[in-house]
Amino acid sequence: MRERDSSGLGATPPTATSRRRILIGLGAAGGALTGGLVTGKAAAAEIESVTNAPISDKTQERQPFYGVRQSGIVTPRPAAGMVASFDVLAKTPADLVRLFQTLTERIAFLTQGGEPPSLDPKLPPSDNGILGPMVTPDNLTITASVGASLFDERFGLKDHKPKRLVQMMSFPNDALEVSLCHGDLSLQFSSNTPDTNIHALRDIVKKLPDLLLLRWKQEGSVPVMAATPGKPPESARNFLGFRDGSANPSPADADLMERIVWVQPDGDEPGWATHGSYQAVRIIRNFVERWDRTPLQEQQAIIGRHKATGAPMQGGSEHDVPDYASDPEGKTTPLDAHIRLANPRTHGSQANLILRRPFNYSNGVTKSGHLDQGLLFIAYQSDLEKGFITVQKRLAGEPLEEYIKPIGGGFFFTLPGAADERDFLGRSLLEAAGIAQPAN
């Protein structure tokens, strides 16, 4: 409610008097009555503005940074995510150390929050200010992974490449755009809001212009839900309208995580890679207009689950295991349904489990006037061959291919964690290569 502007000079901001009126709910005519009602609280009354910042009670949520393993893998996935891929411009081993040390410092600060340094106003500010004068953690994790290209002749890392790390190959249904693929370094950002991720990305880009050059990035989100007390949690839905992540291996099962996510010291991977993981990123376009014109029955047959509940075709709930043993001809769940091809639930297929942590993306409009939307697929596994590559090969020819088109992404190796303030991401690799000195 504004003061009526009799001067005709345009709306003026609410004065203390009109704020009091808003608080008490009186119109302009009530002016005479409010004279005696001055209180200290009136001046602090809510000012109505369409541009007031939306309120969140989660900005102080915080994930640990230091640890044997990086966060952002078994960490519960929040609503906003991003993968940014970079070329590493370092020219010397010393540059490479500086890159990882600086990256570690920035990630430690951004994920814990705090006050950025205040500089002379004649200088550009040290922080981009998107989150205000205090950086709030907002549940942010930043996970750093390295691509096969980093292990080329530049830094002498060739002999230390994780055994199964290769540049992402093209699968039969792919239409990969080079400008959206690969990279020396990937950073996965996830937090409660896109702005927290963007703030962090801009901070890192500004601090490392001589060592990192952006190649591609894709942001994404997942739909939030109201809490359902007494009911098990549900997987968030993707842009096909289906729950995405049913049957995702559970971080509560520590043994399972050790087997399928984390590289172990007793395998054939280089020692430095222990406590790391393989990261498969895929930018997968969804042809949503066509999907939305597909009968529900057919959608469910293509995916292999009930759309509303996420239950397997035999019924039950999202968390029930599909029963293929009593359905050998695929009369209940078609043999080429997405979930059945991805995991046929034989004894052998237990070796091919992957931990998925995806986001949905929505970019622009194609030249044909269709929506450019899809899935920012992210999966972690201790063995890239047995994990994503095997699963993706099984999906070749699936009916879902009519509706999806992978156009980008890459394979990376997620570094072990930084144990404490004296450690830094990538240290174990650089030590193994003789580039960094062991900390004493």
Binding site: K122, L123, P124, L213
Partner: protein, 275 residues
């Protein structure tokens, strides 16, 4: 020449005087006089060359001598690219001399698309000088006008100092990908002009920063050296190879150095106590 100096110094001192109350300057205003007048001389020289080169270029276009016009296009632009921050003080002239097809709704077909790049489109994409007479005349008139206006201008010191970073920002954001000279692919010539122009400004003000921050100066100089070294691999005769010859690896080296210079040179005004 000698008369101009005291007049400029007076104008400069009075322009700076208004800043005296706002914050303490890291350098004395009079210390800026020398570099500023040197820069003004640099700009006058570049303008003289620009006017002469543009005349030769536009004459060739009007004569229908396509080969000659093509040979004169990129060298003429180098002088403009070196002084771009000053030219951009006259945004109307910058638009009519140097805008790109993207800036016009109908792109290359837009009758309003002017200047160097309109002629570039005719010469390279259409291999023809037909209809370019009026465009060439307008370009010449605009370059002459630019010369006149710059001669009369008192350069604001913060614009000059800021110009070093501004040149790098332009290359970093809009040129490194080869979008500027998209028909002729003569972008490497433009880069040399931009790098020279930025480095000139830095060299003039360097003594004022060096005593307090030698590490900063060393880092900036090293990055300028990287730009020169990388670009010089593509030297051909008096000029450069086509942008298409720039390898991915070298493009990334240039991008890294340009982005870092943009970052570091953005500190320069602050270090000199300018707004």
């Amino acid at each position: 020449m000698t008369l101009r100096l005291p007049l400029m110094a007076l104008a400069l001192a009075s322009a700076l005087g208004s800043l005296a109350g706002t914050a303490r300057a890291a350098v004395a205003p009079m210390d800026l006089v020398g570099p500023m007048s040197e820069y003004k001389l640099y700009v006058s020289e570049k303008l003289q060359t620009l006017v002469a080169d543009t005349r030769a270029f536009t004459d060739a276009v009007k004569a229908g001598d396509i080969e000659k016009a093509k040979a004169l296009f990129a060298p003429a632009r180098m002088s403009y690219e070196a002084i771009e921050p000053v030219a951009e003080l006259f945004s109307d002239l910058d638009v009519s001399i140097d805008s790109r097809a993207d800036d016009y709704e109908h792109g290359e077909q837009d009758p309003a698309f002017p200047g160097f790049h309109r002629i570039e489109y005719g010469l390279w994409a259409q291999n023809s000088a037909a209809g370019l007479g009026p465009v060439a005349d307008k370009l010449m008139a605009d370059v002459d006008e630019l010369g006149k206006r710059i001669a009369e201008l008192t350069f604001p010191p913060e614009k000059v100092v800021g110009g070093a970073a501004a040149l790098m920002e332009e290359v970093a954001a809009t040129k490194i990908s080869g979008e500027e000279d998209r028909y002729s692919h003569t972008d490497l010539w433009d880069f040399q002009g931009n790098f020279d122009g930025s480095r000139k400004i830095f060299e003039l003000f360097r003594p004022l920063v060096e005593k307090d921050d030698p590490a900063f100066v060393e880092k900036v100089e090293a990055n300028f050296a990287t730009l020169d070294k990388t670009l010089s691999k593509y030297k051909m005769g008096d000029g450069f190879e086509t942008y298409e010859k720039l390898t991915d690896a070298d493009r990334k080296i240039l991008a890294g150095a340009v982005n870092t210079l943009a970052e570091d040179l953005s500190q320069l005004r602050g270090k000199l106590g300018l707004n």
